[in-house]
């Protein structure tokens, strides 16, 4: 018994390990996390899959064995208890009961016994009477069937564990151990996967995933086993007609559903079904669940827009490109891996933090009225985005995430292109300003002028001529201005505002730096204005006007251009159109242990309820000649309610005995 309690505690503690350490991750993650030394050690102890490890299963086996042993050991005693009445109990032992009382009765023993028998029957007690010399013993009991709760509850534990074992698929584990089946790597073509990693449809127990793009069909499930995979053949093929995502008005997903066609591979019959979250479909003993979804190879129409330093960028008209999610393409020296597409992105519209309000105001707002308050954050769909990895000739990859539609931030419209070097970082977004027509073209045209050293001279000269028209100043002043402007542009084209700032720090005394910075900004804005005029001319648009918005646009353009010089690629991909193909990930499960497990669960519930709330009671009435009546009570479970019941019975019986019962309470009740 002590062993049982320790076992329960040990299993509880052992279970903690697997909740602290993420289980069944790719082994590479563990290697990165723990390093060369600990990784193999932890592997030996099975810490990456604790609940499937030998030692944990051994603990569970101990539980099953110990519980079964306990059942076997206790059963004879309990059976005896359930059958027997203990009608041979001796007076001496009755007097040792915690609950007993001696009453007086009037009349004869023969007169009292039928009355007592009736009392016991009325209160639901079954009894045997035992005649002795000078006394009759009523040995009564009620609810002794409640002892069955013990069998139910503990038998249930065994049933559940055995059911779980059946789903653990020991035969397969054995075949893997013997090398009859060998796990293989996931990243290879299905046709290349050898027979030793394939399981037939007769495999009794498995859980695997089917990845099915819309319009395609699949009859193989991928089982993740340790650090590799196995392929499970299904007796039917699943083709995905459509994958549906419904949304709430907030844009949050409301429903995921796969409209599938099941085709039995033996009979050739087909059935249309819908698999939904919380609504699985079962066929031929295999249940299909909506597990997740993915992109199934969306076609992306892309425009290659130059960005970054001019020196790295091919000049000329923008290129176009077609990409397919999940596949790769090329541009210049780069390999482009198209990694994802999302048709819908729901983001907070105004991310103004609500916490800034004073506490009292927040309280008044949040604890009054309905569960939907005025400060409910507004969310909106900002449209599609897609992601890709750019791999240069040295194999280095960077990840990009670009939105298709412009986003309004601080009163302007921008296109966003995000980049990160490391998958654990968030994307950093570069904002590219749109012109008054809502197009990126002006930015692109200005960029080729402002960042191209070959154009600097002509922009600077035009700018100088416009700022200081001939006749107002001498030629030399104008030339000096043009020279300064050109140098400023060159400086800017290197590292943007950074290089301008560094230049000022190196060459201007600190007292005058602010003033100098202003001059530089004025020069840059002047040149940018010139570039804007040229860009408009080149794009065949009317000359720009000097509205306040134009000034803001120029500043936004300069900032974006300065930032873009740190963009780690010479181009970005603008999404101009797409043809979405979704994929559904279904989970296929065959779980023969499910029935015993749930049967065990039912038994467990009933058993626990009976054990905890069953009322097994024994009442002994020893009627002795000479007007003495001994009442004693016991139960398998002691409780305060038992004492109360005893008190009730003593009073009731005393009344029948018509004795001088004084109600002062039973002896030794405090020991209960």
């Amino acid at each position: 018994m002590r062993f049982a309690v320790s076992l329960l505690a040990i299993i509880a503690i052992a279970s903690i390990i697997g909740t602290v350490l993420k289980q069944n991750e790719p082994y590479n993650n563990y290697l990165n996390q723990f390093g060369q030394f600990w990784f193999p050690l932890f592997e030996i102890f099975g810490l990456y899959s604790v609940y499937g490890s030998g030692w944990f299963l051994l603990l569970l086996a101990f539980l099953v064995i110990s519980t079964s042993a306990c059942l076997i050991r206790q059963t004879p005693g309990i059976l005896r208890e359930m059958r027997g009445f203990r009608e041979h109990a001796q007076e001496i032992s009755l007097r040792q009961f915690g609950l007993h009382i001696e009453l007086d009765y009037r009349g004869t023993r023969e007169a009292l016994t039928p009355v007592l028998a009736a009392y016991l029957r009325e209160h639901g007690y079954r009894f045997r009477s035992n005649l002795r010399s000078g006394a009759t013993l009523f040995a009564a009991k009620s609810g002794s069937w409640h002892r069955t709760g013990y069998w139910l509850a503990h038998g249930a534990i065994v049933t559940i564990c055995l059911g779980g074992l059946a789903d653990g698929n020991l035969p397969l584990k054995l075949r893997l151990l013997l090398g009859d089946k060998v796990v293989t790597q996931g990243n290879q073509a299905i046709s290349a996967i050898p027979e030793s990693a394939r399981l037939g449809p007769d495999n009794p127990s498995f859980r695997g995933n089917l990845f099915i793009p819309e319009g395609q069909s699949q009859s193989l499930a991928v089982l993740n086993v340790r650090d590799g995979i196995l392929l499970q053949e299904l007796p039917f093929a699943v083709s995905l007609k459509r994958f549906v995502i419904d949304h709430y008005a907030t844009g949050a997903p409301k429903r995921f559903a796969s409209e599938i066609l099941l085709t039995d591979r033996a009979t050739g019959q087909s059935f249309e079904r819908v698999v939904e979250v919380n609504h699985p479909v079962t066929y031929r003993g295999i249940t299909l669940y909506q597990a997740s979804f993915d992109d199934g190879g969306t076609r992306l129409n892309l425009v290659v827009q130059p960005l970054g330093k001019m020196t790295d960028t091919p000049r000329g008209a923008a290129d176009t490109l077609v990409g397919v999610v999940g596949e790769s393409g090329r541009h210049g020296d780069y390999t482009i891996e198209f990694t994802g597409f999302r048709a819908l992105n729901v983001e907070p519209l105004d991310s103004e933090p609500t916490q800034t309000k004073p506490l009292r105001e927040r309280f008044a707002e949040r604890f009054a009225g309905s569960g939907r308050n005025a400060d409910q954050r507004r969310m909106a769909n900002v449209g599609p985005s897609f992601s890709y990895k750019l791999r240069d000739t040295s194999g280095q990859a960077k990840e990009f995430n670009n939105y298709m539609f412009p986003v309004s931030i601080q009163g302007r419209w921008w296109l966003l292109t995000g980049v990160r070097e490391n998958p654990n970082e968030p994307f950093r977004y570069l904002r590219l300003p749109l012109d008054a027509d809502g197009r990126i073209d002006t930015f692109v045209a200005m960029r080729t002028r402002l960042l191209d050293p070959g154009q600097h001279r002509s922009i600077a000269q035009t700018f100088a001529r416009r700022s200081l028209p001939s006749g107002t100043t001498s030629e030399t002043v104008q030339t000096r201005l043009a020279d300064t402007a050109q140098r400023t542009l060159q400086l800017f084209a290197e590292q943007g505002f950074d290089s301008v700032g560094r230049f000022i720090e190196a060459n201007v005394p600190s007292a005058e730096r602010e003033q100098a910075a202003e001059v530089f900004v004025k020069l840059l804005e002047g040149c940018a204005w010139q570039a804007l005029i040229d860009a408009h001319a080149a794009l065949g648009r009317p000359a720009p006007t000097t509205e306040a918005d134009t000034a803001a646009f120029l500043r936004a353009t300069l900032t974006a251009m300065s930032d873009s010089l740190h963009y780690p690629a010479p181009f970005w991909l603008q999404l101009s159109g797409y043809d979405e193909v979704k994929a559904s990930v279904l989970q296929a499960t065959r779980s023969p242990g499910m029935t015993p497990v749930f049967l065990g669960c039912a038994l467990l519930t009933v058993g626990v309820l009976i054990m905890l709330y069953g009322r097994e009671r024994r009442l002994f009435l020893l009627v002795q000649d000479g007007g003495k009546l001994l009442v004693a009570m016991s139960a398998h479970r002691k409780s305060l309610a038992l004492a109360a019941e005893f008190r009730e019975h003593s009073q009731g019986i005393a009344r029948l005995a018509n004795s001088g019962f004084d109600g002062s309470g039973p002896t030794r009740a405090a020991d209960v």
């Binding site: 909740t19 939904e276 979250v277 949040r366 309905s370 569960g371």
Partner: protein, 381 residues
């Protein structure tokens, strides 16, 4: 203890003759029929079963514990009044006085929170100043808080449908909502045992854990805006939620209650406040009763969780951190029960164990959501 203190169950025959009980059953039946007539066509078989099951449960509970019937009737009436005042327009929460300051869900939950805090204070005054009046006030405030909290949750249920029909769901779907549920269930368990056992002044302890939950609730709403009604993610759209979650919280509430009784037991065992607290035997029995009911419901809840998991995730058990911690909690109390029942252990060891059990339970309830990741991520902080 004096045997005269022990509760004596009223004779069941006298209950059959009680007109109040029959009237209550009739009201429940009427309410259920109205619901069926009005909304029956939108319910599937499971929901019908849950509705009827709820009615039967409430009737049985009211039969056994008449005060619960009063609570059902009062909170039901308040919720119906709220629904009537709404007239299908959520904006009226800000316009109608009774809604804005009492009956709309957040108002009612705000009241519930305040009343629970006041009840805690009253119980403590009752304990320290030996004032039965203050304790009675504490009990009254706890009842009032429970009524408003229940009405608040019911109103919130209605409000979710007013935001948009497809938003509608029972308000036990996120951490904020289940915290309200936790407060209510713990309070009701406390009130039940207070009525059944000579458990004077125990409220000072049991209400502490409710106050802590109220504190969390307020912080969660004020700092995180968690009080907002959010639509259900697909994984939660299941009738299983309606039974799995409440069953779990009866378990959590009972374990929390047992731990608070354990605190009182440890104090009384050392003579601290002993004359003002129930006897050690009563405390010991109460602790056992609480753990027993908690264990029964927690067993049921875990099994319901497994049934749900089988339907939503494709396996009844996959060692997800929340599942695993539920198992740990369960094993812990199984061990507790074995120690008491098979080894006959009593008193302070079991009390410390029950207190430790609360830590384990809290971790399963909150810690998993805060520190570990897994499929139950919708409850994250």
């Amino acid at each position: 203890m004096d045997i005269a203190d022990t509760p004596i169950n009223p004779d069941s025959r006298s209950r059959l003759a009680s007109p109040g009980r029959w009237a209550y059953a009739l009201v429940l039946a009427f309410g259920t029929i109205v619901t069926l007539v009005r909304y029956g066509e939108h319910m599937d078989g499971f929901e019908l079963a849950i509705l009827v099951g709820t009615t039967l449960t409430l009737a049985a509970l009211g039969w056994h514990w008449l005060a619960s019937a009063a609570l059902t009737l009062v909170s039901g009436a308040l919720a119906l009044l709220a629904i009537d005042l709404y007239r299908g327009d959520l904006a009226r929460a800000e316009q109608v006085f009774a809604l804005k300051y009492l009956l709309a869900s957040q108002s009612a939950i705000g009241w519930m929170s305040m009343l629970f805090l006041m009840a805690t204070a009253a119980y403590w005054i009752g304990l320290l100043a030996r004032s039965p009046f203050a304790s009675a006030v504490g009990r009254g405030l706890t009842w009032a808080a429970s009524a408003l909290g229940t009405a608040g949750l019911l109103a919130r249920w209605h409000e979710s449908y007013l935001i948009a029909p497809d938003y509608g769901h029972i308000p036990i779907s996120n951490l904020y909502e289940v915290f309200v549920l936790f407060c209510l269930i713990t309070a009701l368990l406390h009130l039940y045992y207070e009525g059944r056992y000579p458990s004077r002044n125990l409220g000072a302890f049991t209400l502490l854990v409710i106050s802590a939950a109220v504190g969390f609730l307020m912080w969660y709403a004020l700092e995180r805006g968690a009080h907002e009604i959010q639509p259900l993610i697909p994984a939660l759209q299941s009738y299983w939620m309606k039974i799995h979650v409440p069953a779990n919280f009866v378990g959590y509430g009972a374990f929390a209650l047992a731990a608070m009784v354990a605190v009182a037991l440890l104090l009384a065992g050392r003579g601290v406040l002993a004359p003002r607290l129930p006897s050690v035997q009563v405390l010991d029995e109460l602790m056992y009763r609480a753990i027993a009911i908690g264990f029964a419901f927690f067993t049921l809840a875990t099994i319901l969780g497994a049934l749900w998991a089988a339907e939503a995730w494709g396996t009844y058990w996959q060692w997800d951190p929340k599942e695993t911690w539920a198992l740990i909690v369960w094993l812990n109390y199984a061990a507790w029960l074995h120690l008491r029942l098979t080894r006959g252990l009593r008193g302070s060891v079991l009390a410390w164990w029950a207190l430790g059990g609360l830590l384990v339970t809290s971790f399963a309830f909150l810690g998993v959501n805060m520190f570990l990741s897994g499929l139950h991520s919708y409850g994250s902080l």
